[in-house]
């Protein structure tokens, strides 16, 4: 089985989010980037397939050179090879087109992407890849077993779980549950050293026009100070809730 894990390079959740150029660009200054958590669950599951079922695992990312440390971390964790499509990820459609091209040329049986990425939360890429390549698709996937060409997948549905049977070739939008947090791997020192020696192929993007462009970003208003109102002063509380917080 040949697996492609799509890796998004996203800011660590503790990063301070700021925008520049008149709120049109994300300010990467001082931001720590990591493998998108949903993708890391997928990668860890892929490692299981590699170790238990002899799968080959490649990772792919659409991004500039700055994403290479994140890609090499995936190699250090144990992926066999990596592909970087040398382009800024403009929107979900653009990224999906690029990744679909990688999948098509690489002949992958299973494509594991994250349900959504932690940065823009578009949640579109895996579905689009499946559509572009006419592959089966399971979204919000929390469990995955493969036996020959037969796949048993679990997905999260509102208030419960759904178990589905499908077959390869398949794209999943994965999330926690594929493996648990405690299964996530700390790259070992040898893995880190080997990462340098593994292939990281850089390919140029295919010509695609993005479907959307960012116009501007708005940050939520900063949390105001807490106002304490005397327990005897119910009228003032109602007044503030009504006129200031507009909650009632």
């Amino acid at each position: 089985m040949k697996i492609l894990v799509c890796i998004s390079n996203v800011p660590d959740t503790t990063s301070k989010i700021n925008f520049t150029e008149g709120d049109t660009k994300f300010d990467t200054n001082g931001v720590q980037f990591v493998i998108n958590p949903n993708d890391e669950f997928g990668l860890t599951r892929a490692m299981w397939f590699k170790e238990k079922q002899g799968a080959t695992v490649h990772v792919a990312n659409v991004g500039g050179t700055a994403t290479e440390p994140t890609i090499r971390k995936a190699l250090a964790i144990g992926a066999d090879e990596a592909i970087r499509v040398n382009a800024e990820p403009i929107d979900g459609f653009y990224v999906a087109q690029q990744l679909a091209e990688v999948v098509k040329n690489g002949g992958y049986d299973l494509v594991i992407a994250g349900r959504e990425s932690l940065d823009y939360n578009g949640g579109m890429v895996p579905g689009m890849i499946a559509t572009l390549l006419d592959m089966n698709f399971v979204n919000t996937c929390t469990g995955l077993e493969v036996d020959g060409d037969t796949v048993t997948a679990t997905r999260e549905i509102d208030g419960g779980k759904e178990k589905i049977s499908t077959s390869l070739p398949l794209v999943i939008g994965g999330q926690k549950g594929l493996v648990q947090e405690s299964d996530l791997r700390i790259p070992n020192m040898r893995g880190i050293m080997m990462a340098r020696k593994k292939a990281l192929t850089v390919i140029e993007p295919i010509a695609v026009t993005a479907a959307t462009t960012d116009v501007s970003f708005d940050k939520p208003a900063a949390k105001g100070a807490v106002k304490l109102i005397d327990a005897d002063n119910i009228d003032e509380l109602i007044n503030l809730l009504h006129n200031e917080a507009k909650a009632i």
Partner: protein, 602 residues
């Protein structure tokens, strides 16, 4: 090759030579691979150590062992071990950074880690024969076996060469019998191999042996009960008794009587690693403290907004920053020396030995400075937490207790202070570092008329770098004067040696902070480094004060009359700023940054 040799200062030479900022290695120079290693060990610390803090504090020795095994499985124990013996053969900087970032979770683990990878493994990689290395190092590198280092005895602590443990050769010459008692042995409870130092007949120096230890087949070895300690509670520390323990003669390390040398060289490496192991603790303590200070309100104000607390945050940050700067500077010097010697045809083993030995002075300096910084940092951490800091419920209490040991083991700070100056004087006598020339120049300068020109200090750090030069003159004046006065008997004047050591230490630390910042300001821009600039200036300001105080007491102790007056005037001149930094403003700038980022962010 020859050029490279010129670029790298020899050990101790920093005191008489200037270093270009481009020639120092800084944490900002970590390669991508080193950053990944750093993140991996931090993740290990966050996942495998911090969540189990309570169990470590409850003396769960088995947990320490289990965590060490996990560290072994991830390759953390083999970073410094050559590839030929199943290690990763990474450079010295990588070794030091592993020690740094793995150490802040609990002193219990960092002690176990340090004792195993440093003094437990190094004597074999540095001094072992090919057979010994093949036989033992792979198990140690992977964590299949753990190592312990048995030097200290009830009657032989700081005076390590005075041990009474004996090794007696068998009649057939094939083995030694070891008898004696060792004390304070880290990892004793779960080790499978011990490096044991013992005396053969009436030898002047002790001899090192590799001794296997299996609980099922004790071979005359018994362990005392676990010691109940102030801190590092889950680090196994026991006495080890040898009663006719039979060791094959082939297990002798290096030659007969070489043990003291082995012990000291293993400790040199141990010292810089111990300094590194005190760095991430400071970062973590500061981060925890500022998290609390930003949340905790008194008088309707987050306590982080109070000047009293800002002072603490700023000082903690500046000290940690200087510690990092100096540790990685020295680590890279050692790495370069090793590479240089390998390139010149030395075996890796010889090269590493010489490389580390070369910087023994810096290793001692770092051990003292950083172990005292972490103690101070933990103390202020408790103070910021107020009553909560005194409670076992918050992490400050354990951090404070754990920090205490670093001033005692790997040579007490008193011993290391005296060693640092002692070794420098020895190097001068051997002609490795020219102290006499520069000391004479300072003498001449003292007699001359001082310049009254007002220098142009507009360029970044120009005054600070001038100050460092003057502080070096202060050291030369004090140390030179002391050597002249006491000659060979200087050793007997410990107060003087210790004062001189404090001067030496402050110079190295302050200079390292300045060089790192200057290098970074040049490449990243002064505006991006403004807080780092403030930290370097703040550190230097305190260094100047300490040096003035120590210089004064020294001069008064050994010089009299006109000579004393002249030296004291020199001291005043050498410790005077043209433009005094406003350290109140500097502290505010540093503290505001730490507060805003809510962590140690440099």
């Amino acid at each position: 090759m020859a050029d490279k040799e010129k670029d790298i200062l020899r050990g101790g030479q920093f005191i008489v030579k200037e270093t270009n900022c481009e020639d120092v290695f800084t944490p900002e120079d970590f390669s991508e691979e080193q950053t990944m290693m750093k993140e991996a060990v931090m993740e290990f610390n966050d996942r495998e150590i911090i969540p189990y803090k309570a169990r470590f504090e409850a003396k769960d020795y088995a947990l320490t062992e289990e965590t060490m095994r996990k560290a072994g499985a991830l390759g953390f124990l083999g970073v410094a071990v050559p590839e030929a013996y199943d290690g990763l053969g990474m450079g010295f900087v990588s070794t030091v950074l592993t020690c740094d970032y793995i150490s802040s979770g609990t002193g219990s683990f960092s002690t176990a880690f340090g004792a195993h990878t440093g003094i437990g493994t190094l004597p074999i990689t540095l001094y072992g024969t090919e057979e010994q290395k093949k036989k033992y190092v792979p198990q140690l590198a992977t964590g299949e076996w753990f190592g312990a280092y048995c030097l200290t005895e009830p009657g032989a602590g700081s005076d390590a060469n005075s041990g009474k443990t004996t090794a007696t050769l068998s009649e057939d010459g094939k083995s030694y019998r070891i008898n004696g008692q060792k004390m304070w042995i880290s990892n004793a409870g779960f080790c499978r191999l011990m490096i044991v130092f013992a005396r053969i007949e009436n030898d002047k120096n002790i001899t090192g042996f590799i001794v296997e230890y299996e609980g099922d087949n004790p071979n005359g070895i018994t362990l005392g009960e676990e010691e109940h300690k102030l801190g590092i509670r889950a680090s196994s520390t026991r006495q080890v008794f040898f009663n006719d323990t039979v060791v094959p003669a082939d297990n002798m390390l290096a030659g007969r009587g070489e043990g003291f040398k082995i012990a000291m060289n293993a400790l040199n490496v141990g010292r810089i690693k111990l300094a590194a192991a005190c760095l991430d603790s400071q970062r973590r303590i500061l981060t925890t403290a500022v998290n609390y200070a930003n949340e905790r309100k008194q008088f309707k104000t987050p306590i982080a907004d109070f000047g009293a607390i800002k002072t603490k945050l700023a000082e903690m940050a500046a000290n940690a920053y200087a510690g990092e700067s100096a540790t990685y500077r020295a680590a890279k010097n050692i790495e370069d020396r090793i590479e240089m010697r390998v390139a010149a045809g030395n075996t890796h083993q010889e090269a590493e030995l010489k490389g580390v030995e070369e910087y023994a002075i810096e290793c001692s300096i770092l051990k003292v400075a950083v172990s005292e910084d972490v103690q101070h940092c933990a103390d202020e951490g408790i103070q910021i937490f107020g009553g909560m800091g005194f409670s076992e419920e918050t992490p400050m209490e354990a951090a404070w207790r754990d920090a205490r040991i670093a001033r005692i083991y790997e040579g007490t700070n008193e011993i290391n202070r005296m060693l640092s100056v002692g070794m420098l004087v020895k190097k001068a006598m051997k002609g490795h570092v020219d102290l006499l020339g520069p000391a004479q120049a300072v003498q001449d300068e003292l007699m001359g008329i001082p310049s009254f020109e007002t220098p142009d200090y507009s360029e970044l750090f120009s005054e600070e770098k001038e100050m460092i030069k003057k502080l070096k003159k202060t050291f030369l004046m004090v140390a030179g004067g002391a050597v002249q006065k006491y000659g060979q008997n200087l050793e007997e004047h410990q107060q003087l040696l210790i004062a001189a050591a404090d001067i030496l230490i402050e110079i190295y630390m302050a200079e390292s902070a300045i060089l790192r910042t200057e290098k970074n300001a040049k490449r990243f821009g002064e505006d991006k480094q403004s807080v780092q600039i403030a930290m370097a200036k703040l550190y230097l300001y305190h260094a100047v004060d300490i040096i003035e105080e120590k210089g004064k007491e020294s001069i008064i102790s050994f010089a009299e009359g006109d000579e004393q007056r002249m030296m004291l005037m020199g001291l005043k001149r050498f410790t005077k700023y043209t433009n005094y930094p406003d350290i109140v403003d500097l502290r505010v700038e540093i503290a505001e940054k730490v507060k805003a980022e809510n962590k140690y962010c440099f």
